[in-house]
Symmetry: C2
Subunit: 338 residues, 2 copies
């Protein structure tokens, strides 16, 4: 839990800044008694309640400066948003409703000092808490430490009726393969960011369409699919379609065919970005051939992009079908800044 002594105060001035930061977090998180949070920041543990018949989904995602974000490329608000979005997207993929978030944050001292009225860390919380509020998920705890590099580990807890979570392991031969939204948009925006790191400096809120800086977790779509029991398997496209589809096939013990012409490419995205670009945070899911999957769920387009087939000796686990030819789609998920 957040404890005020974990950041070493280098001077009384720094100590005051740190206490002010902790007060700010505690005030803004406002988690006590909200939703399933019976006790939020301030004790040894937070206390969470589920409804009768529910189980708890838990996921953790570690973000490290220089690997998952760059201080010289990403606005602080985007780093906060993306940190939380990664965890919310994992809940979405199980069809869980968010209950509470926790954040362990390690920061160099300079990121806690004010620069033109606000410190980097305040802007980080602006971005994180704006997304948290948009999805009704309170920040119920975490930890804070001084660190040579910026690291943020987010924990998301969610609730799902017992036995109803959508797993990666439920896909069966004959199922149709679907994806929400578009693919490749995050990679395309990242390429633009790399070409001109100052270009997005003013993108400090999630109000614009910005698939890399401000991805939208598909919570509503995951809940819709889970409540109707239509999806046989799901995961989120965090590492790239080629890599994540291979995960789904491995966990389900099946193979898959993807129709190249059916892929919903984002504006500006190449086929390679759509296949291997990571961090789109769309849902990849399967449903039996007879299931009635609508063309939109909660405003987001749904596209059939292929099918699940049995594993066959000598055939690739994931094949890309283009025209009359099929080729193996190797897992080449995009590597952070490599």
């Amino acid at each position: 839990m957040v404890q005020r002594r974990k950041v070493s105060p280098a001077s009384p001035k720094d100590a005051a800044g740190e206490l002010a930061l902790l007060r700010l977090i505690r005030q803004r998180a406002g988690a006590h008694g909200r939703g399933g949070v019976r006790l939020g920041i301030g004790d040894d543990c937070a206390l969470l309640r589920l409804k009768a018949g529910e189980e708890m989904a838990v996921t953790t995602d570690l973000s490290i400066a220089g690997r998952h974000f760059r201080l010289d490329w990403h606005p602080a608000e985007s780093v906060g948003h993306r940190t939380l979005a990664r965890g919310l997207s994992d809940l979405a993929a199980m069809g869980a409703r968010p209950v509470a978030a926790f954040l362990s944050l390690g920061l160099p001292n300079e990121l806690t000092l004010k620069q033109e009225s606000r410190a980097w860390v305040e802007r980080f919380y602006d971005g994180l808490l704006a997304l948290a509020n948009a999805y009704g998920v309170p920040l119920a705890g975490g930890d804070l430490a001084e660190s040579p590099i910026a690291v943020a580990d987010v924990v998301l807890t969610g609730a799902v009726p017992k036995g109803a979570a959508i797993l990666r392991s439920g896909a069966r031969a004959g199922d149709t393969l679907y994806v929400t939204g578009q693919l490749g948009g995050a990679a395309a925006e990242l390429a633009a960011l790399g070409a001109d790191p100052k270009r997005f400096a003013g993108h400090t809120t999630a109000t614009m369409i910005s698939p890399h800086l401000y991805p939208q977790p598909r919570i509503a779509q995951g809940l819709w699919l889970r409540k109707r029991g239509l999806a046989s398997a799901a995961l989120d496209v965090s590492d790239g379609l080629s890599t994540d589809l291979a995960h789904l096939c491995e966990e389900s013990g099946v193979a898959a065919e993807v129709d190249e012409a059916a892929l919903p490419l984002s504006a500006g995205a190449t086929l390679k970005m759509a296949l291997h670009g990571g961090e789109d945070y769309e849902l990849l899911f399967t449903a039996p051939a007879g299931a009635k999957i609508p063309r939109r769920i909660a405003g987001v387009p749904i596209t059939g992009i292929g099918r699940i087939v049995p594993i066959r000796r000598g055939k690739p686990l994931v094949a890309l079908i283009g025209g009359d030819s099929a080729r193996a789609l190797e897992a080449e998920g995009w590597q952070h800044f490599s």
Copy 2:
């Protein structure tokens, strides 16, 4: 959750090492279907179940190389043990039974390479999983990333009957103040470690008494107190008695007096170490004056060290009573390597 692409493989050899590491973790964690864990490592989220009438306690603790441990001082097994012990100690302080642990681990590549048959990371897991097994808590998920410095964020989930958790805020004037075990032992051992960093290189298991390298979380004592409803407030002594007692007083709206002569000093510990040394991971708790607190709980001595009093203008929040004199006990919790 653990995803195999999050560590960039620098070469096919490294990639194989990383996959082998993930297989190892998944095999050794063995969490599926164990206790409250319905689904462990391998999907977007883990799934946890509580018993009827329980709520979930959640805590996160961030450990960073150079701040919470030193690669040149601490055996890798101790780093793993201490990482988990911090979280278990938070559960103990609420009186919660452990349900599942999660670990987000960021490591420089060299810590994943074998040195004399075993890699640092394998020895880290040896220490962490030995403690996890001793307390029956499965490792149900986490994340893994390459990082310029070693960072480990541990998440502990526990279960407690609704409304029965021991909070920091329940102490009342007239209560007696107790502590489990001894104080200052972790600081004394750390001082010895600093004087001769090679001295404890062979301390690779928790079988010896070693309060700094292998602290024992007081799970059994926390459960005992919670089940009998005897403690009015509790927290764990992670930042030092002077600092943690101030937290308890602030959260409860009370003041406290500590009897210097009553403090149970560890062998080799000075008064200063007992007052301000951190990481003893003993429980500090309060109970009404009439409560029958035994001299030992589950084999660990319990010592009355003072009392809770009302806040009085001009009087310190925490006072240290020695002979006929009282002086303010300022919060001077020990700073990691500062």
